[in-house]
Amino acid sequence: MKIIEQKLDNYLILKIQGELDASSSITLDNALERAIQSNTENILVDCAELAYISSPGIGVFTSHLDECMTRDIAIVLFNTIPSVRKVFSILGLDAIIPIVSSEKEAKSIADGKTHSNTMS
């Protein structure tokens, strides 16, 4: 599993390549932690090449989400394949973490932060 970080204006794009499981989730955890600590405004996660995710991978997002909300950092996922999207959906996380189909939509969601990362 590999993560490519790309800074674009006020967005940090994390492109995940490969499989996110119990052995590899620490890599994403470190990348997200770095992004949060460096006061990134918007974290966009490109999942086009994320072939698989299990609960430790999901756990990376749940463990950082509250801090992102506190710091007004948006986290938006985009380009997920159906089986990855399904995992978020089973847990009900697709109603909490925005998951959209394109980078353009992800930027749009991040720009209107009141619509993202909200918890009822």
């Binding site: 052995s23 989730s25 299990s54 609960s55 749940t62 509250d66 159906p82 909490i96």
Partner: protein, 145 residues
């Protein structure tokens, strides 16, 4: 006849288990989405045993086996450990609670319970057995539905 794989208790061996499950289900014409979900369920169960029961000790092993009878697939994860997981005590956490408490664990069994038809834990001598079953419709039968 059952097919089986045995791996040392290391997290990076989970990929071998996933490939094993995927290969078996592909050979039985299960749909791609059903395969991905069943692979996930078995991965979660194996990760639990490797991490929580064996503390990722490579000297310990787990065995995963699968059988199919009339499209009812039964997966068994066997290990030997003095303190078997007590499924009766497991309470699924609320997602809002997980996020508020900034937790990254405890969700695996929610996924498993949503994916499989049945889950059983039993003790057989010194072995712990986790058995899950799932009935799939063959993918070919779905074409044209």
């Amino acid at each position: 006849m059952a097919k089986r794989i045995q791996i040392p208790c290391l997290k990076n061996n989970l990929k071998k288990v996933r490939d094993f499950v995927e290969s078996f289900l592909k050979d039985h014409n299960v749909s791609a989405m059903d395969i991905q979900l069943m692979v996930l369920a078995v991965d979660e169960l194996c990760a639990n045993v490797i991490i929580h029961s064996h503390n990722c000790n490579p000297r310990d092993h787990i065995e995963v086996s699968v059988t199919n009878k009339d499209n009812n697939f039964v997966f068994e994860i066997r290990d030997s450990h003095d303190a078997p997981f007590n499924y009766e005590d497991y309470k699924a956490p609320e997602m809002q609670e997980v996020i508020k408490e900034r937790r990254g664990s405890g969700m695996g069994l929610i996924l498993v319970r949503n994916i499989v038809d049945e889950i059983q834990y039993e003790r057989d001598g010194t072995n712990n057995i986790c058995r899950v079953s799932k009935r799939f419709s063959p993918y070919d039968d779905k074409i044209g539905e």
